[in-house]
Structures are given as structure tokens and as C-alpha cells.
């Protein structure tokens, strides 16, 4: 059945798809597969790799440090995801209105996104400084004895979460704004004619039509959260005393510092499996709450 039209269609698909697909295969998928092979070797990058089989996976899966890192990563995600999503939705909805200077404010909310983590970490460590920090000073005014934040093993992860949410809000805001702007005006007009209040418009028009964008932001934020690294590295270096060690920190250390590229790759593939599982779960579960228009 591959007639003229068939070949023309293949050509069309190729034309549109290949500019992205070829570089993807060559520069991402191929190195990925190579790393899958590396995960089955012993390789310090200085000597030729030696084939080991599944030994690295056994090592990683039975390693108490990896378990701790994985639990910490999940802890981070559970704290970070809801805060950054709800916060971003709120800001996006507020800034989507016809407000004077909306562009200006969007720019301001976007500033932390573009500021480097080195600077953001320095600032937040100072704001959350247990003695003389602004946050504990304010808490002190209302009679609360502020915690040790990033110097305290129990409060170090919450400190990282707070700084990360603050930094990433603008990023998610921008994704959601793009979604908000594709909601057609006539739906709001219809709602107004029906006598809907602002809150009802938000509840029955804006939020349902925003759900595809929320899902999208959620999946990306989740993938990012599983690979959290920069902020941990610059704020606590995984400390105090290993309290905030995360999976990516161990991947990076193993790969280039400890000369254990095989283990680093095995860890990455275990992480991959977990992320994939969560993503598939979210995509399956989406039918219950994501509303596709029309």
C-alpha cells in the first residue's frame, strides 16, 4: 500500500521529525547506551574498562549510602514539588491579569531563575543563618526560637527546599503563563455572562484548562527533583555529616572524583528506572484530573 502518497507522507514525517531526532539519537541516545555498557564495567577513566557484569548494580542496590541518598532525594521531592507548583500557579494567575507592569513583575519573579546557584546559596545561607540571620530574627520577633537551619542535620534539607522553591518559582511560572495565555477569552466572557464570580471563574475555567500545563510542569519538576544536585552541593555539600546527601551527589563523586565510573553509571540507571516509573505513573493517572479542552 505504499504508493506515491505513502512515500510523500514518510518524507513529510522525516522532514519534520529528523532535525530533532537525528541529533537526539547521535548525541543523547547513543551516549546513554554507552553508559549502560559502562555500568557493567569497572572503569576509573585512566585505565581501560574491565567488564564486570551486574556487580555494580548489586553493589549500588545493597549500599546503605545509596539508600540514604535515595531517601533524601525523595524527601526533597516531597517537600519541593507541592510548594513550587502551588506557588507558581498562584503567581502565574496573579500575573496573568491585565495588571499594569505585569511584564516588569514577571521579569522580577524570573530573576532568581537566572541568578547562579553560587550566589543564591550564599544569600540563603546568610538569610537562614542560625545566629543573626534575617529569618530567625523575624521568627524571634514573634517569639519563636528559630532552628539551626542548614547547620542542623534535621533542618538542612528543609533549608535546601526553601531556597530551591524560591529559585525555581519563576521557571514554573513561565511554563504556566504560556498555558494560561492559551485559554480563550470567550470562555471567560461566557462565564461573566452567566454571572460567575472571580473565584468561580478561577475554579471552573482557569484551573481546569490549566491542568495540561500543570501536568507538564509537574513531570519536569519531578524529573529535575530526582536529579537535584547544584543547590545541595553549594549549600551543604551533602552535610552536615551526610544529612543531605542525594543521589546525584554520589553519581558525580563516583564518576569523576572516586574513579568509579561504572558505579556512577549503574546508579544513574537505577535512578532512570525510578524516574521512568514515576513518570509513567503520572501519565497514567492524569486521566483522573487533567482536562483537555474542546
Amino acid at each position: 500500500m505504499v504508493g506515491d502518497r505513502g512515500w510523500k507522507k514518510v518524507g513529510l514525517v522525516a522532514l519534520f521529525l529528523l532535525p530533532a531526532l537525528i541529533p537526539l539519537l547521535v548525541f543523547r541516545i547513543f551516549p546513554m547506551l554507552a553508559s549502560l555498557w559502562v555500568s557493567m564495567t569497572k572503569w576509573n577513566l585512566l585505565r581501560p574498562p574491565e567488564y564486570l557484569g551486574i556487580e555494580n548494580y548489586v553493589e549500588v542496590l545493597t549500599d546503605a549510602k545509596f539508600h540514604k541518598a535515595l531517601l533524601n532525594t525523595l524527601y526533597y521531592m516531597v517537600g519541593y514539588l507541592p510548594l513550587v507548583l502551588v506557588g507558581a500557579i498562584a503567581i502565574a494567575v496573579l500575573l496573568n491579569s491585565k495588571l499594569k507592569g505585569a511584564t516588569f513583575f514577571r521579569g522580577i519573579y524570573f530573576l532568581p531563575v537566572v541568578t547562579s546557584w553560587v550566589v543564591v546559596a550564599l544569600l540563603w545561607k546568610w538569610l537562614l543563618s542560625p545566629q543573626g540571620g534575617m529569618v530567625n530574627y523575624v521568627l524571634g520577633l514573634v517569639g519563636i526560637d528559630g532552628p539551626g537551619w542548614w547547620t542542623d542535620p534535621n533542618w538542612a534539607m528543609p533549608s535546601i527546599i526553601i531556597a530551591s522553591v524560591w529559585k525555581d518559582l519563576g521557571f514554573n511560572m513561565l511554563i504556566l503563563l504560556a498555558g494560561l495565555q492559551s485559554i480563550p477569552d470567550h470562555l471567560y466572557e461566557a462565564a461573566t455572562i452567566d454571572g460567575a464570580t472571580r473565584w468561580e471563574k478561577l475554579r471552573y475555567v482557569t484551573l481546569p484548562l490549566l491542568t495540561p500545563s500543570i501536568l507538564f510542569a509537574m513531570i519536569l519538576a519531578m524529573i529535575g527533583a530526582f536529579q537535584v544536585f547544584d543547590q545541595v552541593w553549594v549549600m551543604t555539600e551533602g552535610g552536615p555529616a551526610g544529612a543531605t546527601t542525594v543521589v546525584m551527589e554520589q553519581v558525580v563523586k563516583n564518576a569523576f572524583k572516586y574513579g568509579l565510573m561504572g558505579e556512577a553509571s549503574a546508579m544513574s540507571w537505577v535512578l532512570f528506572a525510578i524516574i521512568l516509573l514515576f513518570t509513567v505513573f503520572q501519565l497514567r493517572f492524569q486521566k483522573r484530573w487533567v482536562h483537555y479542552g474542546d
Binding site: W37, P49, Q131, W150, G259
Partner: protein, 420 residues
């Protein structure tokens, strides 16, 4: 049989992917013929940074003047990222001809066959007699000279004279012991005002040194077992851990500000740090000086050394060796390092080092050389980086009170033994 098949297939795929790496790492041991035409050699380093880039360039220029057929292409990377880049380039068989290694990383590179045997490859280019023997031998691995000692630094006790004057205390002397330091630190500490008697990082290097100051050994003689949970080890760990939050600020008291900044602001009276800090203390308001670090049962000073090494796969072994020799020991290098406080050259002739002593502050620069009399170098294993991180982690657990000092050391010993 069925079980081995997929594995074999993976192996094939892997061989394809990584064939180059394997091939090139086998090492080119072709003859050390010097090329006739112009040659460019790369030099990858982490010590120049922003502060010494110009000085390094001066050394390069002078070397190129003397050797018109050789061009040296310098590349800088910060220490944290240096090894990521270097190891990737070695794995991809595009190793720089020459590069730097610090002593702690030297063994893993040496034992992997990544480095050139300099004395064999270019016997005429190397003159070992110019080097301080202890430093030269540090880069000998299994009887093969794989690096030239390029520079070294030592750690001394840097102290704020004004704080001592204000407290009415005598300045530290070379005879001081831990007990003297502690007594002074207690009198100097005024936590309410944010002023502390001392600062000494709680990590592997300080622990190793404190252990040596107490006469302890890190490993047994044949390096099959870690022994740092001995009496001396416990004393060393207590020495470090017990200061924190008392005579030395803890993390919360520091509030994210570095110990260097605190010393510069006059908030720390005695500071265990390296001679690389001298340049940053020229403009501080307080007067300061240095002294050999106090010991416990004996003196011991830590010493950080860097070597210039050549890649085993370099196509220009002779030119590389010539450059490394020049970089490590030429008169110009010695002159630049001494006059601009860019670490110290590891040269044998002490007379060459004289000009260093005339630069002030600090007045007592002699302490830097006195420290060399009792210098200790940690034994290095192939999995050194993991070892250092383990020791530091357990010391931190002791600082937080999660473990007693004894338990922390016992657990650290267990984990370190697993690396051997």
C-alpha cells in the same frame, strides 16, 4: 551458555564504543626522539587561577625564548573541575602532554599507567640534583620517576597580634604545645562578641597531622590495615572536635561566612592555614604573624605538594620533560614563586630561598622553613579521595554529637579498611 550470551553481546558493543580508550591507554612507549620541527605541547593546570596566571605566562614566555622550537599552550581549570576535565580527556585519548597533579591524587594516576616515566623518556632533560630530595622522591612510584616536584606549601599557625595584645597574652612560640594553644584560645574567645580563639578545619588533613603530632600512625607498616583509632588517634580527634563551639566557631556561629573572611575581620585569633593565604592578608587592618604549629608529643607540619607530570601517551616526551624541568626549577620560576608568594619551589639549594625571608609581613617567615624540619606526608592509597571523605564525614558526625569520638573513629577505620 544461554546466560552468557547477552553478556557477550554487551561486551562486543562496549568494545566498539570504548575501543579507542583501551588502545590509547596502553601507552605509546615509542622512542624518545626529539622532533626537529616546531612542537606544541599543552600544559593543563589548576594552580594558576586568576592570581598567578600572569606569572605562569612569564615562565612560559621565558621557556619559549630559550627553546624556540617549543610552544607551550597553557590551559587553566579550577581545582574542583580540573579532574573532571582531565580524566575525560585521558579516557578519550586526548590527554594534555603535560599537566599538574597534587600529591594526594598522584598515586591513582601513577598506578593506572597514565603517566610518563620521565627519567627513561628524557634522561638528559631531567636534573634531579636540583630538587629537595624528599619532594623529588614523593613522585617516584615503584621505582619509576613519574613527576617533578613543581611547588609546595606548608600549613602554619597564623595569628592576630592585635587580639593577643588586647588580651595581654604573649605571642605563640615554636615551643608551644596543644595545651598552650588551648589555654590561650580560651582566654581569647569572646563568643558573645563573635571573637574566637582559634580555627582549625575538622577534616582529613588536619586529623592526619594531629595524629602525627601525637606520634600515631594512620596505617600499619605494610598498609593492610588502618590504625588511626589508636590512643593517639583518639587524642587527635578530640583535639579537633572538642574545639568546635568552644574556642572555635561552629557552623551556626560562622553563619556561612568563611574562616578566611573571619580572620580578615579580626574575629579569629589563631588560624591553622597555609602560606597561600599570605597574599590575602596584606591589606587587613590587624597586625599578624606566623609560627610553627604547636605539637602534642612532637611537631608535625602538613605539606601540600604539586607535581608536573607528562601523559604516557604524549608524542613529545623530551619536550614535555624539558618544560616540566624548567617549570619546576628554573631560576626564573624560583624567583617568581618566592617574590610573588605563589607557593614555594621544591629546590634543594636553601640559599636560593633566602629572598623569601626578607618579605614582610609576616615577620617570622622563617617559620615556613622551620616547619619543613618536621614535615609529614600522609600515606596515599589508590582510593585516596574516598578515604579522605570517609575520615572527614566521621569527624563531622563526632562534631554533631551523633557519634562519640571513639565510635566515629572505629567506624571510619572499618570503612577505610574496606578500601584497601
Amino acid at each position: 551458555m544461554h546466560i552468557t550470551k547477552p553478556a557477550a553481546r554487551w561486551r562486543m558493543a562496549g568494545v566498539g564504543i570504548l575501543a579507542t580508550t583501551a588502545l590509547l591507554l596502553a601507552g605509546c612507549s615509542a622512542g624518545p626522539a626529539e622532533s626537529d620541527g616546531p612542537v606544541t605541547i599543552e600544559f593543563f593546570n589548576f594552580t594558576a587561577g586568576a592570581d598567578h596566571e600572569a606569572q605562569l605566562q612569564r615562565i612560559v614566555d621565558a621557556f619559549e625564548d630559550e627553546n624556540p622550537n617549543i610552544t607551550v599552550k597553557v590551559q587553566n581549570a579550577p581545582y574542583e573541575d580540573y579532574f573532571t576535565s582531565l580524566k575525560t580527556r585521558i579516557a578519550g585519548n586526548t590527554a594534555p602532554d603535560t599537566f599538574e597533579l597534587n600529591y594526594e591524587n598522584f598515586v591513582s594516576f601513577a598506578s593506572s599507567g597514565a603517566l610518563l616515566d620521565l627519567e627513561t623518556a628524557a634522561p638528559d632533560a631531567i636534573d634531579k640534583s636540583v630538587y629537595f630530595p624528599k619532594a623529588y622522591d614523593a613522585f617516584n612510584f615503584d621505582g619509576v620517576q613519574l613527576g617533578l616536584p613543581e611547588s609546595f606549601s606548608v600549613v602554619v599557625l597564623i595569628y592576630n597580634k592585635d587580639l593577643f595584645d588586647a588580651a595581654g597574652l604573649d605571642y605563640p612560640t615554636a615551643d608551644w604545645t596543644w595545651a598552650d594553644e588551648k589555654a590561650a584560645a580560651e582566654k581569647l574567645t569572646n563568643a558573645g562578641a563573635g571573637v574566637f580563639g582559634e580555627y582549625q578545619p575538622v577534616q582529613f588533613f588536619e586529623f592526619y597531622k594531629s595524629l602525627a603530632q601525637s606520634g600515631g600512625e594512620f596505617f600499619n607498616d605494610d598498609m593492610t590495615k588502618a590504625t588511626f583509632n589508636s590512643e593517639a588517634g583518639i587524642a587527635a580527634a578530640h583535639h579537633l572536635v572538642d574545639k568546635v563551639g568552644n574556642t572555635m566557631p561552629n557552623e551556626a556561629q560562622m553563619g556561612g561566612i568563611g574562616d578566611d573572611v573571619l580572620f580578615q575581620q579580626g574575629k579569629i585569633a589563631m588560624w591553622h592555614n597555609g602560606i597561600w593565604q599570605f597574599n590575602n592578608l596584606l591589606d587587613i587592618p590587624s597586625k599578624w604573624d606566623v609560627v610553627v604549629e604547636p605539637g602534642n608529643t612532637q611537631h608535625a607540619s602538613h605539606f601540600f605538594a604539586n607535581a608536573g607530570v607528562a601523559s604516557a601517551s604524549t608524542k613529545h616526551p623530551v619536550e614535555s620533560a624539558k618544560w616540566l624541568q624548567y617549570l619546576a626549577s628554573s631560576d626564573l620560576t624560583v624567583d617568581i614563586r618566592l617574590n610573588e608568594d605563589w607557593e614555594l619551589p621544591a629546590v634543594a639549594d636553601k640559599a636560593l630561598l633566602e629572598p623569601y625571608l626578607s618579605i614582610t609581613p609576616p615577620e617570622n617567615r622563617q617559620a615556613v622553613f622551620d616547619s619543613l624540619d618536621s614535615v609529614v606526608v600522609p600515606p596515599v592509597i589508590e582510593r585516596q579521595q574516598e578515604l579522605q571523605d570517609i575520615v572527614t564525614l566521621y569527624l563531622q558526625k563526632a562534631v554533631l554529637g551523633e557519634l562519640s569520638v571513639e565510635d566515629a573513629l572505629n567506624q571510619a577505620v572499618q570503612e577505610v579498611n574496606a578500601l584497601l
